[in-house]
Symmetry: C2
Subunit: 503 residues, 2 copies
Amino acid sequence: MTTALPTGEKLGADWALQDPRDWLECLEVTTRAVLRDSGIPASAIIGIGTACTACTVLPTRRDGTPLMYDDHWAREPHAWCKLWKHHAAQDWADRITALAHERKEPWLATYGGKISSEWLLPKVAQVAAESPTVARAAEQWVEAADWIVWQLTGVQTRNACCAGYKGLWDAERGWPTADFTAAVHPGLADLAEKLGPVLPIGQRAGTLTAAMATRLGLHPGIPVAVGIIDAHAALPACTATAAGDLVAIMGTSCCHIVCAEDRVVVPGMCGVVKDGALPGLYGYEAGQAGFGDHFAWLSRLLGAGDPGHAALARDAAALGPAGSGLLALDWWNGNRSTLVDAHLSGVLVGLTLDTTPAQIYRALIEGLACGTRVIIEALTAHGVPVQRIIASGGLPEKNPLLMQVMADVTGRTIQVARSAQAGAVGAAIFGALAAGCDHGGHDDLSAAAAAMGGLQGTIYAPEPAHAPRYQALFSEYQRLYSYFGSTNPVMHALRAWAKPGLG
Amino acid sequence: MTTALPTGEKLGADWALQDPRDWLECLEVTTRAVLRDSGIPASAIIGIGTACTACTVLPTRRDGTPLMYDDHWAREPHAWCKLWKHHAAQDWADRITALAHERKEPWLATYGGKISSEWLLPKVAQVAAESPTVARAAEQWVEAADWIVWQLTGVQTRNACCAGYKGLWDAERGWPTADFTAAVHPGLADLAEKLGPVLPIGQRAGTLTAAMATRLGLHPGIPVAVGIIDAHAALPACTATAAGDLVAIMGTSCCHIVCAEDRVVVPGMCGVVKDGALPGLYGYEAGQAGFGDHFAWLSRLLGAGDPGHAALARDAAALGPAGSGLLALDWWNGNRSTLVDAHLSGVLVGLTLDTTPAQIYRALIEGLACGTRVIIEALTAHGVPVQRIIASGGLPEKNPLLMQVMADVTGRTIQVARSAQAGAVGAAIFGALAAGCDHGGHDDLSAAAAAMGGLQGTIYAPEPAHAPRYQALFSEYQRLYSYFGSTNPVMHALRAWAKPGLG
């Protein structure tokens, strides 16, 4: 819901809510359909793993009942579940960032020095400020990933992936102190008590309850893994189980996850979490806020004049490396890493009277590849090795030109996940892990990943002949990156002046 | 001709030729059609004035016969007339600019410190280098404006407008020295002898010959004015006959002409010529290399998805001042004034996933208005007063939103010429002037302009409420203007890398 509750109550700008009952319905419909269509008997299902968007968070009673189930709260938007892309807490994110800087909070550097409006604390702070009664009535704040596992098992758990990447939690330090959350808003002094203990990913949360087994058509008592964020679940599905294996999940946006043995500070990352992506390792997350979204924008802009992906890709390929005459800063949806600034916006330099859609298309591809290279270089420059790159998500299969340019611009070989639904395959791998070691040799994550995940045969290797031109292009990109990211705040002015509602 | 001669000889990239016989045919067809359709008798035509593109130049025999009339030369492209937009002499323009800097030529500052590939000397230098036999056979180099007058009157004249703005000629100094032209190319040592004396505009060149009178259906002996460039002829048609009256001729590109009592140096002008635009005054010319061309580009880019001018203008108007979220550097066709760099290119800053064609359209309008304001401020800052602004050309009538934004961004009232063909009306005014003072009181330019020129009733006044936002936008524009125009040469790199033939 982005405009109103089902009962008609209007939502503010940048709101996004969900109804947790829809998740359960979706679980039921999908699980039954998969069993039916695959012909696999329920008895062959030995474990369950789930992955979910985050931070998608809801206020509940102590027993996990969502506040909005209660008629008393059903018409109060703040009692509903806030979806990850609820962006109406931006002011709170700004205040929390400023306060953390001021107080020199030790965890700030872990998150690139900036708190996202998508995360737990800004969302909860918005509730405390705008609906204090909901904030008081909330006995727990629960991530959707954990709430679903709670419903499946009847046991409350919290996973290190959501808690670490979205909740400012840390294995050694725990949740932010009561002192800090009270300074954010007095109504949040007891926030940590409403969050509770956290388990590493890869653990067993509990077993399937009889009631849920009946609902889903599965056998009761099968093990259920703790929750995980969908993007992070992709790693084992991509056979990325070692330190230095970077997975780029390329969809509308791009999420980059790589694990390392050590914790270091890499400016501009989304977060660094122990046990958050692979058990026993520090997981580093970075992101490009807009990725495939750029191509969808070009298609929308052209409308009836859109020649279509195939024609654009063919003409763009014919232009050759840096042959479009254009350079794009790929910030149509802001810059997540390394600048952590959602209010940045896109740039096209080099437009001429002859500029065509295919030239813009190629410039977008090259800009996205440069954006990825900036992230890889930030990681390696600060001591996080990147040994191998695996692409997953919907784009790699659809856009071979993009993949080749990615390889050329980064100077790295890029492998591609076998499944375009790597997050779902990864969740299943964690389900197998939770089921234990006596069913088919899934006795550790690498073995499970080797058995259930996998890569395509196609490998994109950098073309040496393209390297000098792309190196020059990347230098120009870096210069503009720094100029518009740091030196000249024009994008903030333009956004402030834009007609409200213009993105 | 841009690709081949009529006989099939191929032309190089960026070539553009014309056949002077076409001009005479056009004169004949048009003059007879005007007489026929208007019902005005030939006896009522008391004078002739013509205006022409420049620098459009051809090599002739001493008597004005084009070399390419001769079968010997008919298949040699360099023997034909080079049209103003022949851009294949860019290397020569660069060399001449460098040489003039090196030699500290006194006239260089008059031309913004840079020689355009469109001007006479680069065009002639290209011929000297690539076809020495044509260069030697050429007994005269003649501007089309002067060649047409020569054909009408049988008398050779050269006009100060073409000579000054396109030929590096100056009333006090004359043509570039033989020393300089020989340094450009040894074959040009005698160039000044092939150019000859120059008359101020507004003078009588001669009278119509019997042969041409027969061909055109006019009476022989009627006075003919010296030639003038079409843009410059627009001034009296816009009633711009005083110092400080700036005329902006808005078409695919935009030409700005204003006269002053004094000669000063204004960096980045196209030229400053005494008697070149209005008799007795110094005429300053500046330009925006692309103007309405930008809208045509957007329409081409969108193809079948182009919602059309009316819908774009309506949606763009609804966005309000600086309300598109975008800022455009209006350099799709390079920057003529004040940076004199044809290899600059356009920029769009502020692109988001919600950016629409109407937002780009508004950003182009605002960028063009900012570009005009830069020129006006360069003039006034260096001592050329701008008291009044009159727009002419095809765009003012077609695009009221553009006109209002022009008024708002420049903070100036803008009047509009009555005729969209102000150059033709202006040529007729000069024809009346050449005819003398005893026919209807056209005894001086102002009186002729008042009688034959004129303005529309519509006046665009700046909206005070819009001023602060546009002032802020202009400041951002200036900062990017300086960055991409001077600090960061990225546009030159992008152009050099672009697939040949792209822009």
